[in-house]
Symmetry: C2
Subunit: 124 residues, 2 copies
DNA sequence: TTAATAGTTGGAGTGTACTCTAAGTCAAGG
DNA sequence: CCTTGACTTAGAGTACACTCCAACTATTAA
């Protein structure tokens, strides 16, 4: 599968796909005889995961670290587990933060719904 | 209240507080006769809200836009409401993204829990 | 009175994550 | 054969959100 197809499937730029590979967030993709990337199903799995993790805000260097451990083989299960747990906890906190902000926004929104109708903003 | 106190209460750097004011994310804080910031309760409200919104990921320029509308007065209720709703929707999507990633991480974590015990990673 | 401490400003510098550019290669269609 | 278009690389440039710095001023304790 070409980089163009992958970029269309996942709605991500070709530059970003090359960047993810260059920094080591995903394993090196095989090239055909003319040096063009040919993504395998496995590559797609890595791409998919990378995009998922990044869109939730996991830092690039953490994902790079994960791939590095992965490439070191079975000796690194524990380290990979710790890394994943660590990111899991951070995401829980981030979700909690979002929940608080949603509440605050919701409160403000309801005040403005009224303000738009009545022409004035109540209580402070 | 001094900038030092505010920074300690909210656990944010003085530089960041000054930055938020400089870019217009919060209103200008009054200075005493020696030119030093003296935060009022109202200022603290703005600071608090700014920190909350930023920590959920709302962009600085959106918060700047909000304050700009706020300063323009009652004519901008509708615009402020739209802006807030817009950010609310984006946060809902972001939370959904985090939920998906948490699920994925959870799946990986449970596989690694087993891998750490058995010494090998099952299914793929 | 002087030294330390805490604040001020404008502007430069940094880290993160892309995003773009230039120069080149290759395969296919006219 | 030659052009077009999709790909390649290394490396430069950009956007965002701080973060740091230099030079300065004001207050307080010794």
């Amino acid at each position: 599968m070409t980089i163009k197809q992958v970029s269309e499937i996942y709605n991500i730029s070709q530059d970003t796909l090359r960047y993810y590979e260059k920094v080591g967030m995903i394993p090196t993709v095989n090239r055909n005889k003319s040096g063009i990337r040919d993504y395998t199903e496995q590559d797609l799995d890595w791409v998919q995961t990378a995009i998922c993790m990044r869109s939730a805000g996991l830092p690039v260097d953490v994902l790079v670290q994960y791939l590095k451990l992965y490439k070191q083989g079975d000796e690194t299960f524990k380290q990979r587990l710790d890394l994943l747990k660590n990111q899991y906890d951070k995401l829980l906190k981030q979700r909690e933060q979002i929940n608080q902000t949603l509440e605050k926004l919701n409160y403000k929104i309801s005040r403005y719904e009224i303000a738009v109708k009545t022409g004035k903003l109540s209580w402070d």
